[in-house]
Structures are given as structure tokens and as C-alpha cells.
Amino acid sequence: MTMKENTTAKNEVNELTRIQELVYEVRVKEVMTSQVVTVSPDTPMRELMRILRIKKISGVPVVDGDDLIGIISLEDLVMAVADRRHPHDSVSDRMTRKLVVVRADEMAVQAVKLFAHYGYGRLPVVDNNGKLVGILTGSDITRGLLKALSKRYQAEEIRRYRASHIFEDIDSEQTSLILSYHITAGDFDHGGAATSKLKRALERLGANPALLRKVTISSYEAEMNLILHTTTGGELRAVINPQRIVIITEDDGPGIEDAEAVFKPGFTTAADWVRELGFGAGMGLANIKRYSDHASIESLPNKGSRLLATFYMAPPDKT
């Protein structure tokens, strides 16, 4: 796979997870249909058939005055037609009375779970007083998420534009912004302070949220490595240009025996005190490798180590 294909593939995966993220951020009321077609319990089944056909829908909530009392679907209608013994049944004879509803204020993820659990085609949406305010189908959720996604995509475009502007205003063949932080070995109390500053800088530069998180998490792991595993600490650097962000850490020792093994999840040389602090389980470099587009480490025992982690911005053909 070429590097470009690789970045594009990664980018598509990002899009997918952005949708997953949205399921947790979008509320039912933002994606539901609020103009609900309803029927009364005394509506004849024959009339229901006409309503479903004209409105091109496959189910409707049943309301008695202001009260939601049931739901009736195309499936109920088919069963009623097949059952020739009761040709004059009304909706109340055939509807489902045991209702599963979703609240308008709930997150879309709750509705997704209910759909998966019950296998229903639609869910009535109610307010906090149990009053019917809308109806939700699986395709409402899909449509709503796509709309929210395109909105956020635009917002991200603007941010990216602002960020790239800094680089456009300065005329050179290649402009990079380098942020450097000195990290002291064993300074556990300030662990993460440098990455915290880097995070704020990247926010101001307009990095998109997914990239920002990948870079800050990796930088934080790398910073903790300098604090926990080096003899004299080292330097944490972020080299930023419009195409990519590179996180580099350099230290003077003690170096690593097997520079390949360190990326394997679970590989650790950490002392017990490090583990007690919630680190040292051999996940740090594995996380950096997971989140970056490219990660490598050069190390000589008793000399020092140099870690490089590269994160590409979205390729231009995707924007």
C-alpha cells in the first residue's frame, strides 16, 4: 500500500468513528420527525390502510385525545387482513399497547440501542411529561447524523483554513512551527504540563478534534516516558507544518536494548513505583503507534533514544 492510499484509508476510518461519536452527541429531538401522523383507537383498520398508503409510512402512534396509548404498524394490518374472522376490527383491537418510547432529550445512542434490542421499525418520541412529540425511525437517525456530520465538517474546514493561513502568510519553500519543551526526569508532579501547553497551542492553530486527540495522547505518553524512564530527562518537540505534525522526543539515556520490542503492547521494563502511578504497563508506545500514522524509535544502550511520531493532516483531495 502506498503512503497516500494508507492515509486515505485511515481518513475513511476517521469519518466512520466521527459518526460513532455523533451518536453520543446528537439528541433524539434533533433527528426525529416532529410532524407525526397519528390515529385514534376507533379508526377502522380499512381506514388505517388508506392512511399508511397515502402518507407512505409503515406505522403510526395511536392517541386518545392527548394520551399516547399504543402503536400500530403495517405488520399489524397484514395480520388483520389475513384474519378474515374480524373484518370490522378497529385500530384498538390490533394495536400494540406495550409501548417502548424514547425521550426527546435522550442521546441518539439510546434510540440506537432500543432499535437493536427490540427490533422495532419506529419509536414514538415523548417529552418529560410523556406527551407524544415526534416519531423516530432508523433512517431518521442516519439522515440526522449525516446532516450533523456535514455541519461539523464545514466548521472543521473553517478551522483548518484559519490554521493554514499562518503558514500561507509566511513565504518560504517550507514553513514549520517548532514547539519545544524541556522535560525533567522524575518530575512526576508536572507530568503532562508540556503536552497541556502543546494541546492549547494546537487548538489555537485550529487542529481538528480527532487529530488533536491523537497528537496530545501520543505526546503525553512520550512526555511520561521521558519523566519515568530516562536518567536526565530530555526534550519534547512538536514540528508543525500544513501537511503534518511530528512529535519528537530525545534523551541522553539509558537507552533501550531492543528498540523493536518496545512497540509491542505489554512490553515493559517499568519499576513498581511507576506502575503504582497508573503507568508502566507497556501500553505507552503501543498507544503512540496506534494513534500515529508512522512511529519509530532509534536507541543505543547507555547512549539515548529518539522517538519520532508522525501525524498527517487530511490529504488535500479529501477536503
Binding site: 453520543y24 439510546q110 507530568g191 503532562g192 503536552t195 497541556s196 486527540r213 501500553m283 496506534r290
Partner: protein
């Protein structure tokens, strides 16, 4: 689930002035291993339950965009941890339950797990 509901369910104590009970929390996670938290973060507002109370729990929360932290087994945060939490606007809550109990209580009250989606 609202943050104040989480405090109620866990019979928790709030340690920071930074606290908006009306904040909607969308998922939760529990870990004492900070690299695990960093490996499985999601979007939305998520809460972290942990038995660790040191500054790195807060730094981890900052990097992983975690909205609030609950310390379990009756552990209370040190003053320096509280000060950093105020600076980062991350509310700190403590409760007497074990990590397992506290997770179970929130899960059965309907708070989903945040390990479902990663940013990879």
C-alpha cells in the same frame, strides 16, 4: 444521564467548585491504568472512575477529553489535585463504592460504556 444524577446514584461527594449538575454525561469508563484510558476514549461527555487520585489522572482526563472524574473506595483528592482540576475545569467526585460496584451502579442506571468507539 446528568452529572447530578451520577452523584446521587453513587452517593458521591463533590470536591471542586467546578461542577455543573445539569451537564449531560453520555458514557463512562473505569481504569487504574492511565494508558488504558488513553487507548479507549470517545467523543461526547464521558466520565472516568478510578482508584488513583494523583495528578496524572487529571492530566490523562485532560488529554482524553474526559468531562468528570469519580474517585472510588472513599479516596479523597489532595489539595494539589483539586487545584489543577479547577484550572482544567474538570469536576472531581468521590464515592465509597469499589470500582466494580460504582461501575455496575452507573451501568445498570443506563450509562453506556465508553469503550465502544475509539478514535482510531
Amino acid at each position: 444521564m446528568l452529572l447530578k444524577q451520577i452523584v446521587d446514584i453513587l452517593e458521591g461527594e463533590v470536591h471542586t467548585e467546578t461542577f455543573d449538575g445539569e451537564l449531560e454525561i453520555t458514557s463512562g469508563g473505569a481504569a487504574d491504568l492511565m494508558s488504558d484510558v488513553l487507548a479507549f476514549t470517545t467523543g461526547g461527555n464521558s466520565i472516568l472512575l478510578s482508584g488513583l487520585t494523583n495528578l496524572q489522572v487529571l492530566r490523562t482526563a485532560e488529554m482524553a477529553n474526559i468531562t468528570a472524574i469519580v474517585f472510588v473506595r472513599g479516596k479523597t483528592p489532595q489539595q494539589s489535585t483539586i487545584e489543577l482540576a479547577e484550572e482544567l475545569s474538570i469536576p472531581l467526585i468521590s464515592c465509597r463504592h469499589t470500582l466494580y460496584q460504582a461501575s455496575g451502579l452507573l451501568m445498570s442506571a443506563g450509562l453506556p460504556d465508553n469503550g465502544m468507539a475509539t478514535i482510531l
